[in-house]
C-alpha cells in the first residue's frame, strides 16, 4: 500500500533583505554580525550541494552555533541566485507549522547566517544546477547538536515555493 501523497503548502519567496530576514539570522553587511558558538571551534569548508527542485520535506536546525554561508566565488561567471528556506527558532518540532516556513532569494553576492535554532534546509540554486558555498559551522553542530524533522510525517504537508517574478 502506498502512502498518500503529501499536501503541498505553497509559499511565496521574497528577496533577501536584512530587515525581512532578521527573525532568522543576519544578511552580512558593513556592521559586525556576531557568530555565537557554544561548543568548540568553527570549521570552514567548500560545500557543493546537488540540484534540488522537489518540495521541501525535511528541515533541520542546530542548537550550538550560528552558521554562516557565503556563495563560493566563481571567476568569470555571474553571481548565482539561491533560495534560502527557514522557519523561526521558536517553533518546536512537535508543533511545527509548515505555514511558518519562509523562503528568501539571495542574489548570489550575499553572505548570511542562520541563528542558533533557526530551522533551515541547504540553500538551493534557482536554475536546477549544483550550488557551491563556503560553509562556516560549529565543529560539533552536525554530529551532536542537530534536530531534523520530516514535515510529511509530522504534518502531512511538504512545502513548495513560488519565486518572485
Amino acid at each position: 500500500m502506498s502512502a498518500p501523497a503529501p499536501r503541498l503548502v505553497t509559499l511565496k519567496a521574497e528577496p533577501l533583505t536584512p530587515e525581512a530576514y532578521a527573525p532568522f539570522g543576519s544578511v552580512v553587511d558593513l556592521g559586525r554580525a556576531q557568530l555565537h558558538c557554544n561548543d568548540g571551534q568553527y570549521f570552514v569548508e567548500m560545500l557543493t550541494l546537488p540540484p534540488r527542485t522537489e518540495p521541501v520535506r525535511r528541515i533541520n536546525r542546530h542548537f550550538d552555533c550560528v552558521q554562516l554561508f557565503a556563495p563560493h566565488p566563481q571567476a568569470g561567471t555571474r553571481p548565482k541566485p539561491m533560495l534560502i528556506v527557514v522557519a523561526p527558532p521558536w517553533l518546536s518540532a512537535e508543533r511545527f507549522d509548515p505555514n511558518q516556513v519562509r523562503a528568501f532569494v539571495a542574489d548570489g553576492t550575499q553572505a548570511f547566517t542562520f541563528n542558533i535554532g533557526t530551522w533551515h534546509i541547504g540553500p538551493r540554486a534557482l536554475d536546477g544546477t549544483p550550488l557551491t558555498l563556503v560553509n562556516v559551522q560549529g565543529e560539533r553542530s552536525n554530529e551532536e547538536h542537530t534536530e531534523e524533522i520530516d514535515l510529511v510525517e509530522l504534518t502531512g504537508s511538504a512545502v513548495e515555493f513560488e519565486l518572485p517574478a
Binding site: V28, G31, Q34, L35, Q41, F43, V44, P73, A75, T113
Partner: protein
Amino acid sequence: MSALQDTVIRVKAEPLTAEAYAPFGIVVAAPRHRLQCEPGQYTARLHQLEPVGDRFVRINRHFDHEQLFVPLTGGPLLLVVAPKELSGEGFDPGQVRAFVNDGSLAWTYGVGVWHFAPRAIDGQAAVLNVQGSRYLAHTEIIAMEPAVAVEL
C-alpha cells in the same frame, strides 16, 4: 623626498595556490578546516577593499584568531603576507610575499601571519571578513623599513 624614502623592496606577485600559500594559511577547499578563535568571538562583516597602491608599509598580524575571507563581488585581489616566524623587531621586508587571487578563492590568514588587508587589483571589490571581535587587543602592527612595492 630623500633617497632613503625612495628605496623599496620589490616583490613579484605569484598566483595564489594552496601549495605556495601553505605557510601563511589555507585556500578553502572541500575538506573541513578547523578555524581557531577565542571562543564565541568570531564576527562576520563586509569589507570594501582599497586599490593596490604603490607602497606597502604598515603590516599587521593577529594572535587571537585565524582570519577568513571570501570574495563576494569584483575581480582579482592582491594578498600581501609575511611568515609568522618573523618578529616585529628586526622585521625583514625581504621575506614579504604577494599572491594574486583571481577572485575565485576563499582563503585565511593563519594565527600570527603578517598581512595587509587584501587589495582590489581592478580598484573595487568586496569580501566577507570573518574575524575575532577583540582583534584590536591582539594585534601587532609595524611600519616596514624599507617599504615594499608589489609587481603584478
